[in-house]
Structures are given as structure tokens and as C-alpha cells.
């Protein structure tokens, strides 16, 4: 079945297409850990985990237009919250998730307040400050955090009735959290918060005039965003079973931001693509150049930005548009030309200007 036919029949098949697609994707996601080697499953788990933090970051950066270079630190706070709870208080794993989420939400709200006064670059640098400051702070409180040696904590073990291996169980836990995250983010965007965020990004003063409670929503966006970073951090502790301050350096924050931009800002698929980039491209880089993977990795980042300035998701959208135009073209040549659909009208200008009808005269209105 060619892509072209797929598109053409799409409208007819539309009614059952979406549920079917959802079903197949769900089935594939559930089947994955049974088919792939544990180390592949682990990689996918990490992709999902990074997708959670990137989805949160996307809320802030992509939709809100605010830059954070401190999400590695929120991630660390989530990870440490979980680790300390497991290590010092031996709570169960499940208890750590809401605590990490709530803690990071509040911390994010705290950051959101100064963020109200700061824009763009300055906010980025204040959050960067947080990312730089956190590791030495974690080292300072050695009796709680384990200092620079870090903490080793048990991973969640699969209940025996599942018959799952540890990596499969971790995968399903992460998958569940990631799915919930994506749903929550989607609903957030559809809610007043999302509309306010978009309004803020597009034009702050106009948003203010429109009566959007700008400051409130800005702070709230920061809080949500930090919360997802914390959730991902908690998952990290579950999956890796080890935290140490120097694992959460500024580099992590920069990598996260780069991953999101490479994946695609303000796009639903951006965080997933970005997470895959962060996870797999370093491997590609070291396969190409074992001695200095950084050389290749740096070049790959530049190359992606060069080829897809709006990120991989944008590239996918562009490719899809290209396919669609090609299909439309085929349709036009095969059948009688039909009146242009609205979708076509918003497309890029055609190479030849269409002949204009005579300008309307004044009597028109």
C-alpha cells in the first residue's frame, strides 16, 4: 500500500483509523519488552524517561516561550527526593513518585515567582545558576544525600504474579508514567493554562490586555514544568538505582534543552524525538568515532539544526507536507482539477501567480 493511496483513502477510513492506530501503538508498546533484548528495553525506558522531562520542558520553553537551563536541577531534586526516601526512610517506591512530583511542583512555583519579572535570557541564566549551584549543595548535606559518594538504592522489583523481569517491569512503570504525563500535558494545553501560555508567548502585552492573569499562569507553567522534571528524576532513581551529585551537572540541563530544540519546540512529538536523540545519537557518534565521540556528536547537533531549524518534528511535518503536496499534485493530474481546498490555500505560494480576477470596484460593498 503506497503512502499516496493511504492518504487518499484516509478520509473514508477516518472513523476507525484513530482507534485502530491507538490500539496498534498500544499493542506495540506493550509487546516491545517481550521481544527486545533487556538492554534495548532499558534504552527504551530511558527514552520514555527523558520524554517525560522534555514534555515538561516543552510546556515552558515550547509553549510558554520561557527558557530554562535549570531543568537538570529539577530532575536532580526529583531523583534525590526518591533516593533519600528509599534510603533513609525505606518508603516504598510508589510513595516516592507523588512526593517528588509535589516537591518539584512547589520548588518550581518558588522559581516561577522571580521568573515573573525576568524574561528570556535573564530567566535562562537564573535557572542556569540553580543548575550550577545544586551539585555542591547536595554534597554539603552529606548526612542526608550521601555526599559526593551518592546513594545506591534498590530498584522496584516486579511482583511475582507478573512473571516479568526487572527491566520489563521498569519499562512498564516508566511507560505508564510517560503516557499519563503526555495526557496531562495535552489536557493542560487544552485548558486555560495552555491558552494563556500561548497568548503569553505570542504577545505578552496583548495577553495582559485580554485579561489573562499573566503572572499567575507564568508561575504555574514553571511549576508544572518543574514537576514533570521531578517525576522523570524519580523514575531515574528507580531505573538506575544510583544517584550522585556530579551526575546532575549543568551539562545535563544543557543536554535537555538541546534535546528539546533538536526534537522540536511546541510540538507533540518533539519531546519523544528529542529523547530519542539524546539517547541514541551519542551511540551513533561513538560508533563513527570511538576516539572522540564528542566531535561527531557536536557536528550532528549542528547538522540537525541546519537541516531542520525547527527541530526533527518540524522536519517530519515538512516531509509530510511535501508528501501531501505530491499527492495533491498526482490527484490533480489524474482527475479533473477540483476547487482548491482551504488546506491548499494556506500552503506556500505556488510558483506561478494565479491570474487575478479584476479588482473589485467600489460598488462591491
Amino acid at each position: 500500500m503506497s503512502t499516496g493511496e493511504l492518504t487518499m483513502h484516509a478520509s473514508r477510513t477516518a472513523r476507525w483509523a484513530r482507534p485502530l492506530a491507538a490500539l496498534v501503538i498500544t499493542a506495540a508498546l506493550i509487546a516491545t519488552p517481550y521481544y527486545f533484548a533487556p538492554f534495548r528495553v532499558f534504552q527504551l525506558t530511558m527514552v520514555l524517561l527523558y520524554a517525560v522531562v522534555l514534555a515538561g520542558l516543552n510546556l515552558l520553553v515550547g509553549y510558554g516561550g520561557q527558557i530554562s537551563l535549570g531543568h537538570g536541577a529539577f530532575f536532580a531534586v526529583g531523583a534525590y527526593t526518591a533516593a533519600v526516601m528509599l534510603d533513609r526512610f525505606t518508603t516504598g517506591h510508589l510513595a516516592t513518585l507523588p512526593v517528588a512530583a509535589a516537591g518539584c511542583f512547589l520548588l518550581g512555583l518558588g522559581f516561577g515567582v522571580p521568573a515573573l519579572r525576568l524574561r528570556g535570557l535573564y530567566l535562562a541564566l537564573v535557572t542556569l545558576a540553580f543548575a550550577v549551584f545544586l551539585p555542591p549543595l547536595l554534597k554539603r548535606f552529606e548526612h542526608v544525600t550521601g555526599g559526593s559518594m551518592g546513594l545506591t538504592v534498590p530498584k522496584p522489583q516486579p511482583p511475582s504474579w507478573t512473571g516479568l523481569a526487572e527491566d520489563q517491569w521498569l519499562y512498564f512503570l516508566t511507560l505508564t508514567v510517560a503516557a499519563v504525563t503526555l495526557l496531562v500535558v495535552r489536557n493542560l494545553l487544552r485548558s486555560r493554562v495552555g491558552r494563556a501560555l500561548l497568548a503569553i508567548r505570542e504577545n505578552e502585552s496583548a495577553a495582559e490586555v485580554m485579561g489573562v492573569r499573566l503572572s499567575f499562569h507564568k508561575a504555574l507553567a514553571f511549576a508544572w514544568s518543574a514537576m514533570f522534571a521531578g517525576v522523570a528524576g524519580c523514575l531515574y532513581t528507580w531505573v538506575i538505582g544510583f544517584v550522585s551529585p556530579d551526575s546532575f551537572s549543568l551539562n545535563l540541563s544543557i543536554t535537555l534543552l538541546a534535546g528539546l530544540v533538536v526534537g522540536g519546540l511546541a510540538s507533540v512529538y518533539g519531546p519523544l524525538l528529542g529523547a530519542a536523540f539524546v539517547m541514541y545519537v551519542p551511540n551513533l557518534a561513538q560508533d563513527i568515532s570511538p576516539a572522540a565521540p564528542g566531535v561527531v556528536f557536536g557536528l550532528l547537533i549542528i547538522a540537525v539544526m541546519y537541516l531542520a531549524p525547527t527541530g526533527l518534528a518540524g522536519l517530519a511535518a515538512r516531509a509530510r507536507q511535501g508528501v501531501r503536496r505530491c499527492v495533491e499534485h498526482l490527484r490533480h493530474t489524474r482527475r479533473r482539477p477540483e476547487p482548491a481546498s482551504p488546506a491548499e490555500q494556506t500552503g506556500p505560494p505556488q510558483p506561478e501567480p494565479q491570474p487575478l480576477t479584476a479588482p473589485p470596484t467600489i460598488g462591491k460593498g
Binding site: M1, T3, L6, T7, A10, S11, T13, A14, A17, R18, L20, A21, A22, V24, I25, A27, A28, A31, T32, Y34, Y35, F36, A37, P38, F39, R40, F42, Q43, M46, V132, P135, P136, K139, G147, S148, M149, G150, T152, A165, Y236, V239, I240, G241, F242, S244, D246, S247, S249, N251, P282, A285, Q286, P290, A291, A292, P293, G294, R320, R324, A343
Partner: protein, 429 residues
């Protein structure tokens, strides 16, 4: 718009189906079960994954990228050793060594991923070297669960030796506590009333060494009068050095990694009012750290060492050093043989060679047991008088070091090699 969305959904569905089909086609990928190759005879039931009569496959995880890439070159020394042994000695016990190097960028999650890759996909016999305390800590649970040997990790944290729950993991280099004991012992003899100022890196390495030192000088008249830490992300330690100078201590213990080592040595040399006895720890004791400071500025600096510094002219005619240099030139022409990390890699690889030779069974269990029963094993790249020793209650292979003092253009050994275990007793957690 609506049509587009459906198209996307359908296409995603198609992709999902494709993924499923692919997965089914290679469903054997999942198999952990087929990895349990086992031996016959006396070694019956033991794991023989990654080892045959003709070959042995090892995997190492090093930071080839990221902030700690300086240490990545250790893998060059290790690889070169194995290439040399394969080509000129017929391998180890007739087995050609295949050494797979992976990069973790000094990030624990990446280290976990790479360890899994090495074990599950590459099916290595052993993970020979993970580098750094964080990465090693992140993977040792997994490797011990999988019963994969993790010999001679490239970190001096004492936890590798004091721990009892990870029999498959083993350190190699003198642990930081052992090293600090060398300095404590020296000061007790030379300056029994020393007032010590300490500059240390604020991580496991610095904390371990400082803690060990304080422990070792307990009960003596030696006191630590000032301590200043720095982060690896700090640009410079000069402010810390100014603070330490205020203490007017008569000994400076310099617990740093190379660049900061150079900075601290330079700051000490520049300060005309403060001239403490400068002790620099072995990580920064390479001649290549001292040279940029200027040899005339580092006369009399004291350190302790356990392997031969390739940048030091006194080993120029040493047989092993010649072999090493020739092999580096031949098998790793791009790497600089005078970098001490390369020699470190060579030394640790030849140590593993000895351990593999000592295996009773050519199995993972065999290697695990062999590294726990090393008796006076001599390794030519180590200093004369330093040997590998492990036993039921001793999980620290190297605990003997020797003091060196910088004179002219080289380190001069002085005193006798000191077995810190004999002198101070076993290191405890």
C-alpha cells in the same frame, strides 16, 4: 487538517505494525536464557560466556567524551597492551583478546546502558574496567546480579574493597585511604608536629583521601589546620590557595586532579611568604603536571607512587618501559606514550593478564576467584617492591606505595616501599 491527522494516525499504525513484525522476526533477541553457556569437567556448571580456547572477549567503559575525557586515554594503554600480547605473545594463554571500548561520558545512566550492551549484546567475558566512582557504583549491582566479573575498576574509592556484597567487583589501584596513609606515615617521621593545610577536590576522591588522612594522623601531634575544597567546574583554585596561605601551615596536602594540581603548585610557588612542604597526591604527580609549572618551582615536592611514570627519565632504560613505548608507537601511534594514563592502562591490563593466567577454570567464576587469590603477583609496569595481593579478607590488590621527591627534572624514590595494610591495618568502611 482533519484529514492530515488521520493520515498521521494511520501511518503511525503502519509503523507500529512494522515494528511488531520486525520484533517477531527477531524474537530471539530477548533471550537472556541462551547466554548461560557453561563448562564441563571440573568446572562444570560455570559460565563460559565470552571465552573459548582461542579467544576471550572483554569490554571496558571509559569517558571518551564529556568532562572527564582526559581519562579516556587509559583505554589506549589497555588496548595497546592487548594488541601487543595478541600479536607478539600469541594472546593470553593462547587466547586472543578482543577488547570492546564503550563511552559513557562519565554519566552513570550511560554507564548502565553500556554495561548492559557489553553483557547482553557483546556477550563479553568480563567488564574489565569501568572508570570513576559514579559510573562504577551505577553498574556494580547489575554486574553482580548477572554474575559478570568486574575486575580492576579504575577508581580508588575504598568501597570496592570494604564492601562484601559484590564479590564480582574488584578494585586495583591503591585506594585513596591507603595513599593518604603514606603521607601520614611520612609526616609522622619528618614533621611530627606538622600543621597541615589541605586542598581537595570536592568529590569521592578528595573526600576519601582527606578522610583517610585525618584518620591516619589521629593520635599524633599532626593537625589539619585548614581545608579548602574546589569543584571540578571551578576555573581556578587560586582563591582557595590564598585562604590556605593564611593558615600558615607548614605542610600543604594537595589532593587534586592534574590541571588543578598544576594551578596549586604554581600558586604555592608564586607566594613568597608561604613555603610549606608541598605534598601532591599521585593522580597529579605526573611529570607532565609539574612541567608546566616550571621544574625550578617544584623542587622538593613530595608524592607517593606505585607505577612507573613514563614521563620520568629514570625509567627510560627500563625494559618494560621500552616494550611499552615500542608497543604504543606501533599500535597506538596517535596516543602520547608519555601520558601517565596510558602507562596506567598498560599496567592494569598486564595485571589482568596475570589474573587470567592464574584462573583455575576458564570461566567467569574462575576469573572472579583468581582476582581474589593474588599472591605477590609482580607486574613489570609497577614499581619494584609493589605487588598485587588479595585474599579472603583483603580485597585491595595494591596497598604498597613508595614515596618520591622531585629533584632536578625527575621524581626520586626515597625510603622503602611501604605496605600500608601492614602498617595501619586493613581499611574499613
Amino acid at each position: 487538517m482533519i484529514r492530515m491527522r488521520h493520515t498521521t494516525a494511520l501511518r503511525a499504525a503502519a509503523a507500529g505494525i512494522a515494528a511488531l513484525l520486525t520484533a517477531t522476526a527477531c524474537s530471539s533477541q530477548r533471550g537472556q536464557d541462551d547466554s548461560a553457556a557453561s563448562a564441563d569437567g571440573a568446572c562444570k556448571g560455570q559460565q563460559t560466556t565470552g571465552i573459548t580456547d582461542k579467544s576471550i572477549k572483554l569490554g571496558g567503559i571509559y569517558p571518551m567524551s564529556g568532562p572527564a575525557s582526559a581519562y579516556g586515554t587509559i583505554s589506549n594503554g589497555v588496548s595497546t597492551y592487548f594488541k601487543y600480547v595478541n600479536a607478539e605473545k600469541g594472546g593470553i594463554g593462547g587466547r586472543k583478546v578482543e577488547f570492546v571500548v564503550r563511552d559513557d561520558g562519565y554519566q552513570p545512566p550511560k554507564a548502565v546502558e553500556e554495561a548492559r550492551r557489553l553483557v547482553e549484546r557483546e556477550k563479553v567475558f568480563a567488564v574489565f574496567q569501568t572508570l570513576g566512582t559514579p559510573s562504577t557504583s551505577a553498574v556494580w549491582d547489575y554486574l553482580n546480579q548477572q554474575k559478570v566479573p568486574q575486575p580492576f575498576v579504575a577508581t580508588g574509592a575504598s568501597k570496592w574493597g570494604t564492601d562484601t556484597e559484590h564479590p564480582w567487583t574488584m578494585g586495583w589501584q591503591p585506594n585513596y585511604v591507603a595513599e593518604s596513609r603514606m603521607y601520614a606515615d611520612y609526616l609522622k617521621k619528618e614533621k611530627p608536629k606538622a600543621k597541615v593545610a589541605v586542598l581537595f577536590q570536592n568529590d569521592d576522591f578528595g573526600k576519601d583521601l582527606l578522610g583517610g588522612f585525618k584518620q591516619a594522623v589521629k593520635g599524633s601531634d599532626i593537625t589539619v589546620v585548614a581545608e579548602e575544597s574546589y569543584e571540578v567546574t571551578d576555573p581556578s583554585v587560586s582563591a582557595q590557595m590564598t585562604s590556605l596561605a593564611r593558615s600558615e601551615a607548614d605542610v600543604l596536602l594537595n589532593i587534586t586532579t592534574p590541571k588543578f594540581g598544576s594551578q596549586a603548585l604554581a600558586a604555592d610557588a608564586k607566594n613568597p611568604r608561604w613555603n610549606p612542604l608541598h605534598i601532591v597526591n599521585s593522580v597529579s604527580a605526573s611529570t607532565s603536571v609539574l612541567k608546566p609549572v616550571g621544574f625550578k618551582n617544584v623542587q622538593g615536592v613530595v608524592s607517593a607512587t606505585y607505577f612507573k611514570d613514563p614521563a620520568d627519565p629514570q625509567w627510560a632504560d627500563d625494559a618494560e618501559m621500552k616494550t611499552y613505548r615500542a608497543a604504543m608507537k606501533k599500535y597506538a601511534p596517535d596516543a602520547d606514550p608519555s601520558i601517565q594514563f596510558n602507562a596506567y592502562g598498560w599496567a592494569v591490563a598486564s595485571s589482568l593478564h596475570k589474573a587470567l593466567d592464574a584462573m583455575e577454570c576458564p570461566t567467569r567464576e574462575g576469573l572472579r576467584d583468581a582476582v581474589q587469590k593474588l599472591k605477590d603477583v609482580k607486574v613489570d609496569m609497577l614499581l619494584p617492591g609493589v605487588a598485587l595481593n588479595t585474599g579472603a579478607n583483603d580485597r585491595f590488590p595494591i596497598e604498597t606505595m613508595q614515596l618520591v621527591r622531585f629533584q632536578g627534572e625527575r621524581w626520586v624514590l626515597f625510603g622503602e616501599p611501604l605496605d600500608t595494610r601492614q602498617k595501619f591495618g586493613p581499611v574499613t568502611g
